[in-house]
């Protein structure tokens, strides 16, 4: 059937099972928007305040569902505004398709109005990108973009479509979406060898990351750990993969991870890295990371093997598949002594924050949020101290229920991401935890959540400083607080009200709980400002470049 390029865009979105896109209209995507309007019953469009918010919303949608998030932006500034969102998705391996308009093909290269070479700009932050030069290629290019975004290690793909191509017509035929191949052939002898290493190990530790979530392998991981009594610690990205409170769950590892999990890695004789990349926030010192262990890495991306830390053995494959195959070769074991030793460390060396009745302690606040919003809630954070406190104390029990910008550490990520999560799961509670710094970067999106009636609860930990940088300044710059003290007079309650949301302020935990209770009943967005002491630190902490021995606990 003859269809315009704009219609073809919508048809392929429908083909790929996309029911919602996030975006912002503009001159070069005006035809795509016209087609979206004609098809509004098939594809829902969410209009954000800013393209960056749309890109984070597409990302948050993808993180919460595992499906590919879609963002649409116009050429030039529209396209550059989604760059941060694309880079954020790229660093955390989130499947996303970004569709940008561009000036007409004959205007490309002439510095035309709102022209940017966005495929050039996004080369290093996409898995791949395309400039569609002929309408004949449009449908298959979009299909290819969806395939690339989801296959192997997921990631963002950008498709740049000049305006004239959206206007032209071409014969369109529906195609079945290609089945995404995550499966990578794995050698049986490699799996056997890994099983032997596990069976021989006295003090094994599993260190797992976001790859377990991408692969949907939480159950398989848990089975292996429970069968062989292998304790496991997770990266920031893998919060929620294992249930909080599980004895084998050592909690987070890394710069702000548990002392006991760092100790377990330090003392382990076998470290199995599963779907993770030894980032500098975990292997803070590459040479001293797991110094006594045989290091094994399982990852779907061959380029991750030995990229940051040299391993002794590795398997390139889908984590789920490898863990499943491992089960037939491993011997059940109780590893009583090793687990008891770790239990002892948890009691003796772990950092335990102390409560204070006069102020809101971050750990108490996060615990209260976690308890009051329930296990099913999706918690979304921005970047900074509140992000680490949330990761440490939010007690997630399910994968895809803790959304955060891990690799890129994008301040301003969270409100958009919260909207994406809420659109994906209207019946689940979405709690957005942020700082006063981060919230100032994306609070414009309050208008979006009000417009669409998304009852997201925002909790601002307001310490009136850029706390994480301040913490570094305190520890490493002799308390020279260069430009991290925010002398802002923003009234968050009034701000929320001005946008059409509800606002609350809390100085104590009791006040917070009262406000949160009200917010839970609201059918509009809520903002709760919580006053936090500016000298609160995220502890424990391994200084950058340091190792387990350098851990700061007070």
């Amino acid at each position: 059937m003859l269809k315009t390029g704009a219609e073809i865009v919508v048809e392929v979105l429908v083909e790929e099972g996309v029911d919602v896109v996030f975006g912002y209209p503009g001159g070069t995507v005006i035809n795509i928007y016209d087609a979206l309007l004609q098809n509004k019953d098939r594809v829902r469009h969410i209009l954000t305040a800013h393209e960056q918010g749309a890109s984070h919303a597409a990302d948050g949608y993808a993180r919460a569902t595992g499906k590919t998030g879609v963002v649409i932006a116009t050429s030039g500034p529209g396209a550059t505004n989604i760059v941060t969102g694309i880079a954020t998705a790229y660093m955390d391996s989130i499947p996303m398709v970004a569709i940008t308009g561009n000036v007409t093909t004959d205007a490309i290269g002439r510095d035309s109005f709102q022209e940017v070479y966005i495929t050039g700009v996004t080369v290093p932050i996409t898995k791949h990108n395309f400039l569609v030069k002929k309408i004949e290629d449009l449908a298959d290019t979009l299909r290819e973009a969806f395939r690339i975004a989801q296959s192997g290690r997921p990631g963002p793909v950008l498709v740049d479509i000049p305006k004239d191509i959206t206007v032209e017509s071409y014969e369109f035929e529906n195609k079945e979406p290609v089945k995404i191949q995550r499966h990578v052939p794995v050698k049986q002898e490699d799996v056997k060898h890994l099983a032997e290493l596990i069976n021989k190990s006295v003090r094994p530790v599993i260190y797992f990351g976001g790859g377990v979530i991408s692969s949907g392998a939480s159950e398989q991981l848990s089975t292996l750990m429970n069968t062989c009594s292998i304790p496991g610690c997770h990266t920031l990205m893998a919060s929620g993969v294992l249930s909080y409170g599980d004895r084998l769950n050592l909690g987070m590892v890394g710069m702000h991870g548990h002392v006991s999990s760092a100790k377990a890695i330090n003392e382990s004789d076998l470290l199995i890295a599963v779907g993770t990349r030894f980032s500098d926030r975990v292997a803070t010192n590459k040479e001293k990371f797991a110094p006594n262990a045989i290091k094994v890495q399982i990852d779907i991306d061959n380029a991750e093997i030995d990229k940051n830390v040299r391993t002794n053995f590795s398997i390139v494959g889908d984590v789920k598949d490898v863990l499943e195959k491992l089960m037939q070769y491993v011997t059940p074991s109780d590893r009583k002594q090793w687990l008891e030793t770790i239990d002892k460390w948890r009691e003796e060396i772990d950092y335990h924050p102390v409560d204070d009745q006069n102020s809101i302690k971050p750990f108490k606040l996060v615990e209260a949020i976690s308890e009051m919003s329930g296990e099913d809630a999706i918690i979304v954070t921005d970047v900074g101290q509140h992000q680490m406190w949330t990761a440490q104390y939010c007690k997630r029990t399910k994968p895809r229920s803790f959304l955060t910008s891990g690799g890129l550490g994008t301040m301003g990520f969270s409100y958009g991401a919260s909207m994406g999560a809420k659109i994906a799961f209207p019946d689940r509670r979405v709690v957005h935890i942020t700082g006063d710094g981060g919230f100032h970067m994306n609070m414009n999106e309050l208008c979006t959540s009000v417009t669409y009636g998304l009852p997201i609860i925002t909790v601002i930990m307001n310490n009136n400083v850029l706390g994480m940088v301040r913490q570094w300044q305190e520890l490493f710059f002799e308390k020279r607080y260069a430009y991290t003290t925010l002398d802002r007079k923003t009234d968050f309650v009034k701000l929320a009200e001005a946008f059409g949301a509800k606002g609350y302020r809390a100085n104590t935990i009791a006040e917070f709980k009262e406000a949160f209770e009200k917010a839970l009943q609201n059918d509009c967005p809520s903002v709760i400002e919580c006053i936090i002491d500016r000298d609160e630190k995220v502890l424990p902490m391994i200084p950058p470049g340091g190792s387990f021995d350098d851990m700061i606990v007070d």
């Binding site: 495929t119 050039g120 791949h128 061959n302 380029a303 093997i305 990229k307």
Partner: protein, 156 residues
Amino acid sequence: MKKHILSLVVQNNFGVLARISSLFARRGYNIDSISASPTNEPKITKITVVVEADDELIEKVFKQVSKLEEVEQVTQIDERETVCKELALLKVGAEDTAVSAEISGVVLAYDGKILEIQQDAITVELTDIPSNVDAFVKALSKFKILEMCRTGVTAL
């Protein structure tokens, strides 16, 4: 650090060379030389990259390049086992006949060509495996090299 030659079979798409060189820049790998050319297959371009790297680094480069969507095949080449050539052009100062004769001797020894003889300079060419080109340039550097360029390696 050793020089490694990578031969890439890539899809002949708009911007493919930029994409590959961007990867090298982004990851901090040094390109010694890069050459790209069409092949007998219209949809395929052959790119030959020379990288200075130790064994660990070249493994990383290899894996990262292999990951690019448009890269169909990556092969690490040994210049002595593959048909692999580089062309160098040098203009060497020759103020008198004695120097000219000496330069000609070097060119002859390396099986190079004399392209042009001017009053005070000789322009020479050598097409050979990269290490021989290196040696040739080294041999000529005891004279005054006025200009030099190399094409980068190409390999079948």
